[in-house]
Assembly symmetry: C2
Homo-oligomer: 223 residues x 2
């Protein structure tokens, strides 16, 4: 990505250029997808705190340091901003899951029990770790997407969820997990996803302890 040369205003008197009017943006703030990213970040945060309908595009613009109309230079409309947040959230989730599983493979952790631990821990990372506004927005602002956007997000979501089923089926086959694996998966996702409502990063439990408790709750001991 080539650095854009600083374009001066030819008609501005040189001495006052830096002191009059609104402060100049630094080069770094201007170029490439930087501002788009700032909008997504701000939108994720506000959508999570106040919901989609409860957040104005002006709020988002202000949080990203822009004027009221500027978000529409980067996104077609408010809904496209929401879809952007969700797609980014799911891409991160899929990628983090992929890396976690690859690392487990490299460490020779092929046991279904170990793999479930990896999946649960990666899930908590994405849901409760730093920068964790994107996925909760996906989970809770679902209904505000158009049908087409929903389908697009759903493709990533299905890929993410698909990784769980073979692991749960293996655990069911070995007797470590009881009940229909499909229904069990829904209940387990619920248990994990609900943590976004109550987990406090400053509180007592760490993500490791949470993972332990969840696995202890769902799985039987090895015979």
């Amino acid at each position: 990505m080539p650095a854009t040369p600083p374009t001066d205003f030819p008609d501005a008197p040189d001495a006052t250029r830096r002191t009059r009017g609104r402060p100049r943006k630094t080069l770094d703030e201007r170029d490439d997808g930087n501002r788009r990213q700032a909008l997504l970040q701000a939108a994720a945060h506000l959508f999570r705190q106040q919901g989609f309908a409860g957040t104005s595009t002006r709020d988002i613009a202000a949080a990203a340091g822009m004027q009221a109309g500027s978000p529409f230079y980067h996104f077609e409309n408010k809904q496209a901003l929401l879809a952007g947040v969700m797609l980014e959230g799911m891409q991160r989730a899929v990628e983090h899951q992929r890396q976690a599983l690859a690392q487990a493979d490299a460490a020779g952790q092929v046991d279904a029990r170990q793999r479930l631990r990896v999946l649960v821990r990666a899930h908590f990372d994405v849901l409760l770790g730093p920068q964790s506004d994107f996925v909760p927005v996906m989970l809770y602002e679902w209904r505000s997407l158009s049908a087409g956007q929903r389908a697009e997000v759903n493709r990533l979501r299905s890929a993410y969820e698909a990784a769980w089923l073979p692991v749960l089926q293996a655990l069911h086959a070995s007797g470590a997990l009881r009940g229909d694996p499909g229904l069990a998966r829904l209940l387990i996702f619920g248990a994990l996803n609900w943590s976004a409502q109550w987990f406090d990063a400053r509180g007592r439990a760490t993500l490791d302890e949470l993972t332990d408790t969840a696995l202890t709750l769902f799985l039987r001991d090895a015979a």
Copy 2:
């Protein structure tokens, strides 16, 4: 409660009273808290479908067969409508739980495992059964309440949740439930509450089957 005598309009010509102007409301539609109840019902439904911020008081009025300004005759503001929905939802939940436990007592079901089944089933009833808009609104529109309203709703919610802990502690003591009962309770509530997002009453699973699967997932078999 004394029946209100039908008050006629003294200056309305008798013959046309029933045919001109907007149709008369029947007595039944007019008196007491009937209209208030219709507003709560409509609000619960719309808040659930579209969220609090995404629903206008005009939508609610129309759904209850009123004009735009009329909800404010019954409720101070939009937020009071939301609080009304949540309080009604929690009152129903607490009452249903109380009845279910009383019935279990009468049937001599004092075993902790049996009591957990009763609690789970009653929870699903309130969350997924007929008229199940009130509690999901409570679960998902939390942030739109004022601090004072939140405290009021929380009192009922704490009472509801308090019934679970001794049962879970007994199951933990007997080895049927693993992990800290406090954390386990949060995970279990998550698994159950999340069902409001995916359960389809027209689908395959019944509430009984759901209850079975949940108990099988969380509890170990008797030794």
